[in-house]
Symmetry: C2
Subunit: 203 residues, 2 copies
């Protein structure tokens, strides 16, 4: 009967892992226990995930692909901002209400363990590299592409925070797009003499 479920193995392992990490703690949970909870075996686990940490970060690998593809597919005359907005719009398929419920629990688990934070940062850096590479393919200069990737990822991160905090269940892209607009409004702080950090204007 197990083979009947095999196409869902990855998702079942992710769900089982998150349940066990919340119930017993990340460090106390073994890969064998995750596989057992999912009705699978250890070997199957390692066909899907390289180590115990990886089971929490499958979504990030999906996002890296969605971001890059959307930026490459944006209209030829799209601005940098329009490219990033296209990337955020493309994530809606992955950032579902069901994922939102999981994301909140996942944040709590990751906060307990610095090795998980490290893995999260590695995944975050890979998404940024995917944005950077896609912008470069469009002919964006190297520095603008790096700045676009960093600011895009900051908008994405802030968007995720707002999406998780919001009670209104707006689609994720709206939060990320609003975060990007809010950051854009603050780039003037980098113009020489424009705004003092004590709040006065610098002219």
């Amino acid at each position: 009967m197990v083979s009947r479920w095999a196409p869902d193995a990855r998702e079942r392992l992710e769900t089982a892992a998150l349940e066990l990490f919340v119930e017993h703690g990340y460090e106390e949970t073994t890969v064998a226990q995750i596989a057992d909870r999912a009705g699978l075996n250890r070997a199957t686990y390692f066909r899907h995930f390289a180590d115990k940490r990886e089971v929490l970060f499958g979504g990030e690998d999906v996002l890296a692909g969605l971001f890059g593809d959307a930026i490459r597919a944006a209209p030829p005359d799209a601005t940098l901002t329009e490219c990033l907005q296209a990337a955020f719009a493309a994530t809606e398929v992955a950032m579902t209400p069901q994922q939102r419920a999981k994301a909140t629990r996942r944040v709590l688990v990751v906060a307990t363990n610095s090795e998980l934070q490290e893995r999260g940062l590695l995944k975050h850096a890979r998404i940024a590299r995917s944005i950077n590479a896609a912008l470069r393919e469009r002919g964006v200069d190297a520095l603008t592409a790096r700045l676009g990737a960093e600011v895009g990822m900051l908008a994405f991160t802030i968007g995720v925070e707002r999406w998780m905090e919001s009670d209104h269940h707006e689609p994720f892209p709206l939060h990320a797009e609003a975060a990007l607009r809010d950051l854009q409004a603050r780039t003037v702080a980098f113009e020489p003499g424009s705004v003092r950090t004590d709040g006065s204007d610098g002219f």
Copy 2:
């Protein structure tokens, strides 16, 4: 005779580790070998560094402190850019010509191992948090502080790359300050309709 050298233990361990990682590879080197090369023992190693990776990242902890202190000590009417420039100026004490030679070898070692990349990203995130916290203490709003920390770290990273590549041995702060100016010039790309990613202007 060992006690005579004890004040230098940390630096000796760092030097020994880097030598061994370059000679034999990071994964093939043990903490016992590092301690032995430094003329110390394993227990002394673990008084200075929590694990094998940590010996490569002591500089980042120093930088997090230098950045935060310099931003807090900047004049009350300093702009965001002036705060970041003050932070870069403060790093000169840590970014010495001797460190530059080490940095180049360290980059090569870190590139070979994803666990080292993860640790580097964690340290990078901690420096960004230190910048963010120092800007918040100055009364900078939350989003501007996060943007300042990310753009500041990107300028720092690009500055390190240029510092390592340059043959002219200019002091590190000059490279970081120039990188920040270059990024500032590109923030206009985030203004709606200003620059198309195909290089035409968007008006």
